[in-house]
């Protein structure tokens, strides 16, 4: 078998045992890594209704098929477990260097079960693995722990994946970092790792992906061509030039910059937080992930010194900036540092603080509740203090560490209206009242509000635009307005969702393949085929993506999720308070009708939102039909 190491490292922390599993080619072609492999393992090995923080929860760290290949943006791996934030299928992807290093060490995935009696970390050195004590690391910030592990193992090239103090304290939106700059932020999976007393997984490998490939020469040629293309394509050029913080001003101009907990779509102090200010006051350098020519990562100075944690992405600028009413870019960069030191998901953390600010302004939280903090929108100092309280689960931070949905239920009154979440996960910093397919993605995603389900509507608004033309090989040729729903828009969604899911299976970044970025779909397929020798078609590729999505949906079906959970926060059905889209809302009836259309396209029952037996058979998932029938 080509393109894969075909090996899974299985670790039982309760017993301290480590084993190797070898995968067959027939199996791997059905579930070729990442989201597909993780979904299969969770669905078949995790007992239904397992409490997320119990030792029985299963954690999967799964590389994509192409993770580590010499192709720009093929760097990502998936972490998966039952989510303590949503109670459903938990998943979060990250780039960086850890996934490729794991592949170079000879492993496609690590599956962790049980709970260590005391804090430990896992050391994977090529084909050898051992569980080592980590009591001396417990409670330390992530930068200190990375340095300690590299020092005690005597190799500064070791790649360290780890949680921070927030994961140890079971903050429900605690994340996982690798190299301090790349994050499996979403779904609270850092807290699951913390519940297992597993602080870190350190990895060192010396294999090269090319040695696994069916046709290494072709794979190298594709990678070389794409590396040259990065600077010639406007989309990837802009990602390299500005990175994601470049989104701030155009979103504001379009009236879709989430502001003050999604009440507003424009921020009056946008000039203080837009890219030019970031470049002038924070930026020190540009960085990248393994073998990626895009170089969208940013290095920044915070409090007059180089930050060890990299710079804030757009999501972080948005979450702690406009969405909290904060216009102090230094404070936003500090918030980014704190999140990465404690290892909190900066999206959920910022969104939960924005929620708390709105509760405070409505008297639902008082000075007594906040420990004297004046938690009004715009108070950057209070925001920074609350991040630390959340990271330590102290004071008001203990309540907010539950995420905005659970916190709202405890606060009561109008608080649930202010909780901008789906399935318990906070919205990312993309305003769906201006991008209806983004709203559909928030609603339907198995992991709760996720902004990476489909390429955003705005890319397909104009005929002749480069992104629409780049989507033609996927079957998308018609321009459609961002604020539209209906049959044609749902067809677009259905195609883009399968393509996006394929990216999460194969290890591609959202900033790699067209239509979001620069890699033509045919080069994605050629890369897969050069790696594996499979000669897969576009149809098979989209089916692989769709199968992975259905595995996640089946997991949620087993946990009791149905159509009623595929919804949006009530606020989104009301009008924006300001900006270019002032007064605009998502039309509820049309949204529900389009959800039905989408279910039908996906082969899901319109009443329940669950896969039909016919669909599961078509995807080769007939073995899972009982999962749905037992739910009904």
């Amino acid at each position: 078998m080509y393109g894969t190491t075909a090996k899974i490292l299985r670790v039982d922390l309760t017993n301290g045992t480590i084993e190797t599993q070898t995968l067959s080619e027939d199996f791997y072609r059905m579930y070729p890594g990442g989201k597909a492999l993780a979904g299969y393992i969770l669905l078949t090995e995790l007992p239904p209704h397992t409490e997320p923080f119990s030792p029985e929860n299963v954690m999967v760290f799964a590389n994509g098929l192409l993770t580590g290949a010499p192709v720009s943006t093929a760097t990502r791996y998936v972490v998966s477990a039952r989510s303590p934030l949503t109670g459903g299928y938990g998943e979060s992807e990250a780039g960086g260097f850890w996934g490729p290093e794991l592949k170079m060490a000879g492993w496609e995935a690590i599956v962790v079960k049980g709970k260590a009696p005391k804090p430990v970390y896992l050391w994977v050195n090529g084909d050898q693995a051992e569980i080592r004590p980590a009591e001396h690391l417990w409670g330390q910030m992530t930068a200190e722990v990375q340095e300690s592990i590299r020092s005690e193992l005597g190799d500064d090239k070791i790649r360290v994946l780890q949680i921070g103090p927030a994961g140890e304290k079971l903050v429900r939106f605690a994340g996982i970092t690798n190299d301090l700059r790349h994050f499996n932020g979403r779904n609270g999976l850092g807290a699951v790792m913390g519940s297992k007393n597993l602080r870190a997984i350190a990895v060192r490998g010396n294999q090269r992906y090319q040695s696994l490939a069916y046709d290494a020469k072709t794979l190298m040629a594709i990678g070389g061509k794409l590396a040259k293309t990065v600077k010639e394509n406007p989309l990837s050029w802009d990602l390299q030039e500005r990175g994601t913080p470049g989104l701030v001003e155009p979103l504001n101009t379009g009236g879709i910059l989430p502001t003050r907990n999604f009440r507003q779509g424009a921020f009056e102090n946008v000039d203080e937080v837009k890219w030019e200010m970031y470049e002038k006051t924070l930026l020190t350098a540009r960085r990248t992930c393994y073998a990626c020519a895009v170089r969208c990562k940013r290095e920044v100075a915070v409090e007059g010194r180089e930050s060890p944690y990299g710079g804030p992405e757009y999501e972080t600028v948005g979450a702690f900036g406009p969405n909290c009413g904060v216009s102090d870019l230094q404070a936003i960069a500090k918030a980014n540092e704190l999140c990465n030191a404690y290892m909190l998901d900066s999206i959920s953390c910022g969104a939960t603080i924005a929620f708390a600010m709105e509760c405070f302004e409505h008297g639902l939280l008082t000075l007594e509740d906040t420990g004297g903090l004046d938690l009004r929108f715009g108070n950057a100092e209070a925001m920074l203090q609350v991040i630390e309280l959340i990271g330590r689960r102290e004071g008001i931070g203990d309540l907010l560490a539950e995420g905005c949905k659970r916190a709202a239920e405890k606060i009561g009154g109008d608080a649930p209206f202010f909780a901008m979440q789906v399935k318990g996960q906070e919205l990312a910093m993309h305003e769906p009242r201006g991008k209806f397919n983004v709203g559909m993605g928030y609603a339907i995603s198995e992991i709760g509000a996720d902004h990476l389900v489909v390429a955003h509507d705005t890319a397909f608004a104009k005929p002749e635009a480069i992104q629409l033309k780049a989507a033609a090989p996927l079957g998308i040729t018609q321009a459609l307005p961002p604020r539209s729903l209906g049959e044609e828009k749902m067809e677009m969604f259905y195609i883009l969702e399968r393509w996006g899911s394929l990216e999460k299976v194969t290890g591609f970044c959202f900033f790699g393949p067209a239509p979001r970025s620069f890699i033509p779909p045919e080069d994605v397929l050629q890369s897969i085929n050069a790696a594996t020798g499979w000669n897969i078609s576009m149809d098979e590729a989209l089916t692989i993506g769709e199968r992975a999505t259905n595995l996640a949906r089946l997991f949620n079906a087993r946990e009791g999720f149905t159509r009623k959970d595929d919804t949006l926060p009530e606020r989104l059905f009301t009008g924006l308070e300001n900006g270019a889209l002032q007064g605009q809302a998502i039309p509820r009836d049309e949204f529900e009708q389009s959800l039905t259309i989408l279910y039908q396209k996906k082969g899901w029952d319109p009443q329940t939102g669950l896969p039909t037996p016919e669909k599961l058979r078509a995807l080769g998932l007939e073995w899972a039909i009982d999962v749905v029938s037992s739910n009904q």
């Binding site: 406007p234 989309l235 050029w237 802009d238 030039e241 994601t244 470049g246 989104l247 001003e249 155009p250 979103l251 101009t253 379009g254 879709i256 890219w275 030019e276 757009y314 990312a428 993309h430 983004v438 902004h451 990476l452 390429a455 955003h456 705005t458 890319a459 608004a461 104009k462 005929p463 002749e464 635009a465 480069i466 992104q467 959202f510 900033f511 979001r516 270019a580």
Partner: protein, 76 residues
């Protein structure tokens, strides 16, 4: 007029600089200005003239105007 390009339309600006000063002797359709600069109109998703949203296809601009054009804003 002063032209600012945000997002990937900056790619089409001379020298890939985000700002450009352009002399206009009379009010001119923005689409003509953009064509002169080399920015393809289909790539312009949002246009603000002196802080007001306008349609790039129909806007008329003058020498004293501040014009900001942006590509479609993508996620991620």
């Amino acid at each position: 007029m002063k032209l600012y390009a945000g997002g990937h339309v900056t790619f089409y600006m001379p020298g890939r600089k985000h700002t450009l000063e352009i002399s206009l002797s009379e009010p001119t359709p923005l689409r003509e200005v953009l064509a002169r600069v080399g920015i393809p109109l289909p790539e312009v998703a949002l246009t603000a003239v002196n802080g007001e949203l306008v349609e790039a296809e129909t806007a008329i601009v003058s020498d004293s105007d501040q014009v900001r054009v942006f590509s479609a804003v993508n996620g991620g």
